[in-house]
Structures are given as C-alpha cells and as structure tokens.
Amino acid sequence: VTEPIELILTKVFWDVFDDETIALRPDLSAKDMPDWDSLTHIRLLLTIEREFRIKFTITEVGDLKNVGELISLIQSKTSSSSPQS
C-alpha cells in the first residue's frame, strides 16, 4: 500500500520549507510563497526525485507552473516506472 502522491508531496514541502503548516492546492505556485526561490526550488526537485525515485529532465521541470502540474508530472513518471501501481 503506497501513500497517495499528494500526501508524500506535502511531506516533501514540509521538509524542504521547514514549515508543517503548508497545505498543497493545485494552483499553489512560487508566487504564493516568499521562501520559494530558485535555490529552494532546486532542493524541492531534488527531494522529490529522491522520495519518488524518479528523475526529471530539464524540459519537464522548466514548464512547471504550479503544484497541480507538478503532481501530474510525478503521476506520469511514477506510473510509467512501476506498471503495477
């Protein structure tokens, strides 16, 4: 039994931003969070890669606009790498 992506991703956000009050919603983006600068963004992507055991390409992450798109991207990557889930 695996946790839903949203739940794991929320914990990643808590970990990266050191803030356990963050609640994810699809339209959340860097504009809404002052701590979400370019360095933190990289740390966020690296942590997601580690937690979900996936690798992003620069093109994929370059197009991301908000959390909703991030979740779809993770979804597409995790479902293609493990067909049974």
Binding site: L39, L46, I58
Partner: protein, 634 residues
Amino acid sequence: MSSLYSDLSWLPRPPADFSALCRSVLDRPEALGDRIKALASYALDQNQLVRLSKIIVRAQGASESLAPLTPYRLGVISNSTSDFLATALVATAARHAIALECVVGAYDQAVQESLNPDSAIHRSKPNAVLIALDWRGLPVRFSPGRRGEAESTVRVVLDHLNLIRNGIQRHTPALCIFQNLAAPPETLFGSLDRTVPGSPRDIVDSVNRAIAEEVWTSGGALLDVAGIAETVGLANWHSPSEWNMAKLPFSQEFLPLYADHVCRLIAAHCGKSRRCLVLDLDNTLWGGVIGDDGLKGIRMAQGDPAGEAYLELQRYALSLRDRGIVLAVCSKNEDENARAPFRHHPDMLLREEHFAVFQANWSDKATNIQAIADELALGLESLVFVDDNPFERTLVRKTLPQVAVPELPADPALYARTLSAAGYFEAGAFSEEDLKRASYYDNNARRAVLQKQVGDLNEYLASLKMEIVFQPFDERGRARITQLINKSNQFNLTTRRYSEVEVARIETDPSCFAMQVRLTDTFGDNGMISVVICRAPSREEWEIDTWLMSCRVLARCVESMVLRELLQHARGRNIRKLIGVYRPTDRNKLVEQHYPKLGFALTEQLPDGSTIWHLDVDAAEIDPAPMTVRSLFS
C-alpha cells in the same frame, strides 16, 4: 553498498522530532554549542543540514556563545553553485566541534576572488580557503595522442591553481585546500584511454599526481575528491542532469558526504583528529562469547567465512596502530577469559602487546572508557569506541558524547569499512613521529583503575522502555531453554546441564517451578535471556537449582526483577525460604556475589568451594527496576 557513504551510515538516524528539536534549540543559551553538536551528529540529509545551518547562522548572528565549538572561517572559491555546499558545511562542521562561518566567492570567479584584496573572501579574513574547482573550472584540455600538449595542459592547470593560491596567500595566511579531479566517466577509446597520453583519463591522472606533489612540497591541504568519487562510483558522483539544471558540481545525494570530508580535514588541521581506538571483544573482534563459548568455540579462524569476517576488523585495527593510532580494549568479561584468545588463539592477528590499556570487567562501559582516557591522558574527544551491541553504543553516546561511537552494519565483514568510512582518524599531516606514536604509550595491556561511575545509569535504563516477560517452560521455548542451559557458563550459578528430554520433564514436574524470561527494549527483542529452575526439597522451601542469564543484559537490573517475580510465585505457594547455591567453575566468577547482592544470607560453605545462601521469603523486599513486567503465568 554506496548507501553506506551517501547515507553516512556510521551515524545514528535522526529522531522523528528532529525539526522540532532544531526549532527549540535556541530557546535557552546553556550549552548551546554542545546541543547543536549533538543535533549535527545524526546522519542528516540535505534538507536537515539546511535546517540546522539556519539555526547556527542565527546563533552566530546573535553572537550567542557556541563554546566549546572552535570558531572557524572558511572561504569557498568555486566554478559551480556553492550555496548548498555552504549550508551543508556549516551544519556538518558542528559534528566536528567547529563553529563554521562560510564565505562564498562570486560564482565562477576563482581567479578574481583570489587576486582582488577587496573580494568577499579576503575581506572575511578566512582561516582557510577551499578551492573547489572541478575539471570544468580549470584549463583542462584533452589532446589524445599528443604527449607534448598533454604535458603542457598539466603545467597550465597547475599554474592556474598556483595563481589562485598565491593570490590568496598574498593577502591572508589562510590554509589553501586544493581539490583533485574526479574523472568524468565518459571515455574516448574505452580501456585504451588509460594508455593514450592526453586522453581524459590520462590528463586527470596526471593533474591529480601533480596536485598531490604540489601540496606535499609546498604546503596546503588536499581534499581527495577523486578518492571520494571513486569510492561511491564515478557514474553516481557525476550527474550531468544536476549540472545542467543548476550547475551543481556533483550529485547532491553525496553532499552530506562531501561536506563531512571537508569538515574532517578542517578538524584535523585544528588538531581534532581522534587518536585512540577502543574495541569491544565478543562479537566485535571475534564471533561468539569467549566466556561462554570458550577458546575453541569463538569464531575467527581462517577458512571459516563467518570467522574470517572478524579478522577484517583486526587487520584494520592493526594497520591503524601502525600509523600511530593507540589501541585499547573495553569488554564485559573476566579479565583472564578476555585475554585468552590474544595469548592462545593461533588465528588472532591482534596480541596483547598491541594494546595500551585492556579493560575487561563487569562495570559499565562509560566508566571504563573514562578510565581508559584518564590512563592515556587523552581527552574523551580523542576516542573512538567500536561495539556490536547497540545497548552499549547508546549508553556511551549518551553518557560520554565526546566519544565517537559508530553504528555498525549487521555483517561483521563490513565493520572495518564502516569504521574507515567514518573518517575518525583523518590526518592533516603525517610524520615520522606519528609513525611511532602508538609505541610511545606503554603497550603492556594494563588495567586502568576505575574511578566513580560516570553518568546516571538508571536514567539511561528508564529511557530504554524495557519490558520483561516471565512465562513457564513450554514446548515452544524448550529448544532455546535447553540451548541456554548447555551453553551459558558465565552468568550461571550452578552450571547444571540438562537435555531437552529432561527440560520437558521439568515442565510437568509438580515439585518444580521453572521460568523462562524474555526482554525487549527500544533496540528490539533480546529474545530469551534468562532461565530459572526451582525444586522443592520440602513443602516450604525452594532450592534454586538453576539460575542463568545472558551476559548481554547484565547491569540492567534483570536479576532483581527475576527475584521479584520468583518471590511472588513462592508466596503464592506458601514457600517460606529460598535456597540459593553457587557452585564455582573456572568460568562463573562473575556471579560469586550474586546471592549476597540480592540480600541472601550465607549459611554454609562446602569443601568444594560451593556456597549455600538463604532468603526469607516473607521478609524479602526487592525494589522494582525501571521496566514493564508481563507475567504469562496462569
């Protein structure tokens, strides 16, 4: 296997409330440095390092005292994104007792930063400057097949590094830390790269040799990035995607490892390298328990794979001693038993003369390690303690936090590698004197005198959340009961051996009362750790025919809890008197004073040395110890 390195597996995992601990650490100023060092001493990942570094930077900004951490300022010159590196270094340095400030030079401006007296690096007056350049940041040009060009490339690279070094040293006396190059995994010809002058492999090898010679002859320090990268694998180390995404010089999976290596080096240059390796014996230097299994039963023989695994650690300890590390023993054992393998076992690599101090007794290990430090006139922060038993490791970490205590993997074949990966003995230099250091100490394996007990054992025991489970003999436990009865030698009052058939008979014999005892704690299930058999010579008396216990759970008040339980059953059956017997063997001196310690009175001494002890059941009172009791008697 690379996870040993990327996860810093020799360090304990951080607790679940690590974030909360970080947040609250600044709430009070007392012992702030020590408390921050304690937080840094877990195996922290990148995000945890960021969290801790923020706390440290805040404390430094508020001019809070971080003593006893040594203040140190490090400049970083780099051709890649070094922001992550700086935060990782600040947090990691605390693990090595350093309060680090990190000053990062402008991105990809190594030469300008070093030459300009007004650069951020120079203005900060650093103690050291890390020149963190990889092959992309140096004038490295590959010229396969053109030897002359290859040689000139090596010269040009070295000139470039010297230009930076001279620039730095013109303005400050800072230590220059050079990095060598991790070869990119991409080859041109394949195996032939190694033989063709000017190929990537050839250039990297030649440059690395030249950098090493330069550091050796004209001073400075070398951070062996090539060695780190080769250890974890070049293809793991180099991440083209991460370079592409954010100009990260290597896979950030290894950032905690890289930072630890930099901080070890700095700590070594601050004189903080450790000097003494303290070793446990049973199941650390050999397989098995010498006091129970005997000289023929312990495993370390050549040709026995399980035994040979232990020889790896012996071999490594011996080679550390050859380079000047002092060795000591700290073991819960009878002194004579503990020394026997060193004297008589043909396969032992370590011998008594390799040890300065040899502590084998039944006192707690923290007190013994303090005695070793005192005897050698070394600070506790010079000591490393290796023990397979998590109970002892945690006790020593809690009681003597200055002592380094690595976590060990399940497989003893990896003990030596884990100890090496932890880098406790990192050296800034190596001289003839170092070579002889271990022999300066009298290596006479002497016993150090114990001073008063250090730390609060009861508090530690309470933190273990022990649960003791008592139950009658049963079929499921029979094999293990029989095994314990036939193999326990040390904590065994009478050393009576019974077969499985006899044990089965005791289960149903109405004149017998028998218990099997289990213990669990925060480290896990210790399994069956004690067996007691009583026989009734009269209607109101129980004679304790057998009482044995595993030495792994010594000094945890298990004996008194066993007696408490025994007294309850005795009272329930109108037994008035317990009769204890101690029958001496050459192995069980440990329990000579077992009965008087529990309040029994001596009534008889037999010619064979046996002693008989009595306890009045109604009058006996045993204080409860900090553990939960579960009794499965119906």
